[in-house]
């Protein structure tokens, strides 16, 4: 495709058209690095002990969502990223409308604000497990760890995507791939020694227990295990040959995510009975029980460091991705005030990161020091995942529209049966959103309607009112004249 094929008004394709370079040198990224970043954003060993409790049924609990959610998300975003730069904002802007493009990337961005404190609180408790478990109950310790790690992450992200890509990839390798392989090998050794699997591995245990709504909540909520697969598409213009390389990177990430989720959970369920997993104080004691069987308990702190590295690597990808998408559309359309559109010397959206950091720090401090906030924090994960699902609904709709309205637009990859994939993904996302209104275990005693009101109110505020306030208050002067052509850090295509 030549430069002549480049659509106007932000509809930039990902061909090798003459690039409009920014002052900043464009960092290159291999498709392998992007695959590792994507995997790092979505998968880690953190969930392995939780899912090992379900034994063989954990395969079902990961495979069904993989068919109805992972496959549509990965294939659809592979097609979209092989045709358009900029990630979800541009796909939705091109397929539906620019305000909806802003809404999509806002939803992707806003939900991370509440994610970081809980992720870093988990990191703090993992560190505490090996140093002194009593620290996990210290508000001061938790606040210091969250704040220091978060702002270090912001600082690293502000140095450019190159640093984020390297650290996230290595975090995945040393914190997930190596320990995950170790878990699986040890599990196979356990079985090879003639030991029976602790969890029954027969056909009748392939399905989770069916108890109506509770089982449905478990299965449907597991769709969200794969959320984030599309997020790193915002870096697509950093690839040498995006139309060919992005789909390759997405397929590799899809395979890795499945392996990381399923195999280590199975391995743990072979060695540690569910009753022992259930009695463990969190993820680390489950790993401890696993290693104790092989008399290698000293590996517990090693895996703790690995989990910390993987979590921080994943956090970096989330810091760098959605905020970049938000910046791109805001510069083109003037959706955010100029202060938030400013770039640093590395071409990074520093002021968005810092503003987000101030809000996140405030939330984290409340989490650490106010028991009523920490106790109710789980509700934010319900609200934010609901907000995130808005983005998926918009993405699947946009993909159908783009295939119909721009069939001739060059794409490096055509997803097979795209409409079926989009309808499946849309219905899965809608089902997950509906299930999000069913009270979980933590909401005991309250009325269903108050739960619906809290979740619905949060969804309305974070997912609709705030982004529409930005849209309403925007000024024409906030547009950056050169923003349509220049893509920070990446080569504009």
């Amino acid at each position: 495709m030549s430069a002549m094929d480049v659509p106007a008004e932000g509809g930039r394709s990902v061909s090798r058209a003459p690039a409009v370079q920014q002052a900043v040198a464009a960092p290159r990224m291999t498709w392998l690095t992007l695959a590792l970043m994507t995997t790092s954003s979505v998968a880690s060993l953190r969930a392995a002990p939780t899912m090992a409790v379900y034994g063989l049924a954990c395969v079902f609990l990961y495979l069904v969502p993989a068919i109805v959610f992972l496959l549509p998300t990965a294939l659809v975003s592979a097609e979209l990223a092989s045709g358009w730069t900029g990630g979800v904002y541009n796909w939705v802007a091109q397929g539906l409308s620019k305000p909806l493009g802003f809404l999509a990337v806002w939803c992707q961005f806003a939900m991370t604000i509440f994610y970081y404190p809980s992720l870093l609180a988990y990191v703090a408790s993992t560190i505490a497990y090996v140093i002194d478990p009593a620290l996990a109950n210290s508000g001061l310790y938790t606040a210091v760890v969250i704040t220091v790690l978060y702002w270090t992450g912001v600082w690293v992200s502000a140095r450019g995507t190159g640093a984020v890509a390297g650290l996230a990839s290595w975090g995945l390798v040393i914190g997930t791939l190596v320990p995950g392989t170790l878990l699986v090998v040890l599990g196979l050794v356990f079985l090879g020694q003639g030991n029976p699997s602790a969890a029954p591995m027969n056909a009748s245990h392939f399905f989770p227990a069916w108890t109506g709504l509770a089982s449905l909540v478990l299965i449907v909520n597991n769709f969200l295990s794969y959320s984030g697969m599309e997020m790193n598409a915002v870096h697509v213009s950093s690839l040498n040959d995006p139309p060919r390389e992005f789909p390759k990177s997405m397929f590799l990430a899809m395979g890795l995510v499945l392996l990381i989720f399923i195999l280590p959970a199975l391995a743990i369920s072979w060695v540690v009975p569910a009753d022992q997993l259930s009695l463990t104080a969190g993820v680390m004691q489950a790993f401890d029980a696993f290693f104790q069987y092989f008399d290698i308990g000293w590996l517990t702190p090693v895996i703790a460091v690995g989990l910390v590295a993987a979590s921080l690597g994943g956090m970096l990808t989330w810091l760098a991705g959605p905020s970049k998408g938000l910046l791109l559309i805001s510069r083109q359309e003037g959706y955010l005030p100029p202060f938030l559109q400013k770039l640093n010397a590395h071409g990074v959206q520093q002021n968005i990161l810092v503003t987000q950091g101030v809000v996140t720090t405030g939330i984290a401090l409340m989490y650490a020091f106010i028991p009523s906030v920490s106790s109710a924090y789980w509700i934010f994960s319900v609200i934010t995942t609901q907000v995130y699902l808005i983005m998926y609904l918009l993405m699947f709709l946009a993909a159908i529209r783009l295939r119909r309205n721009q069939p001739e637009h060059p794409r490096g990859y055509h997803a097979p049966a795209l409409v079926t994939l989009c309808v499946t993904g849309f219905l899965a996302s809608a089902a997950a959103m509906v299930i999000g209104f069913v009270p979980s275990s933590q909401f005991s005693g309250g009325s269903v309607w108050s739960y619906v009101l809290i979740v619905g109110g949060g969804l309305l505020l974070l997912g609709l009112i705030i982004p529409f306030t930005f849209l309403k208050t925007r000024k024409p002067s906030w547009r950056q004249p050169d923003a349509g052509a220049a893509a920070p850090e990446g080569r504009a295509a």
């Binding site: 408790s125 109950n137 295990s225 029980a289 460091v305 920490s374 994960s381 275990s441």
Partner: protein
């Protein structure tokens, strides 16, 4: 910023990350206290097994594994299980299989959470009452196929 300067800065970021992780590893290996399998820990492990069987749990864990994981004092499981921050993490972890921002609460399996109360009863009975309050605030169901 020139590519050379950027590469140099990135190199220092990588070196800093490696130093930090190695330091954490060394501190972790030096400070991590493994539970020791003593006569007392085996006695407690046996008591726990008996109580799990009495409560109807079929797959009772290996004695050796329990003794080395929980020792005599229960390890981390007895570390203020009803504390605000522990409680918060515990609630967040009663979730689906997501490891990223897709993590979301589910309806937890009843026996999964009740087993912890049996452990507390054996290893730190003084912490049981507060934990029981926590369990009472939880709606559960049977979702694990045993």
């Amino acid at each position: 910023m020139s590519p050379t300067r950027m590469a140099s800065e990135h190199r220092w970021i990588y070196i800093g990350a490696i130093v930090l992780l190695v330091a954490m590893l060394v501190v972790g290996l030096l400070t991590y206290t493994q539970q020791h399998a003593t006569n007392e820990s085996y006695r407690k492990a046996q008591q726990l097994s008996d109580e799990l069987v009495a409560a109807g749990y079929r797959a009772v864990p290996d004695q050796d594994q329990i003794a080395k994981t929980l020792g005599t004092g229960g390890g981390a499981v007895c570390e203020n299980p009803a504390g605000a921050l522990q409680n918060a993490l515990w609630k967040v972890n009663l979730a689906n299989g997501a490891a990223g921002p897709g993590q979301r609460p589910v309806v937890a399996d009843a026996r999964t959470v009740e087993a912890e109360a049996i452990v507390l009863n054996v290893y730190c009975p003084d912490k049981l009452e507060d934990f029981r309050h926590k369990l009472d605030d939880l709606d559960t169901a049977k979702t694990v196929n045993t």
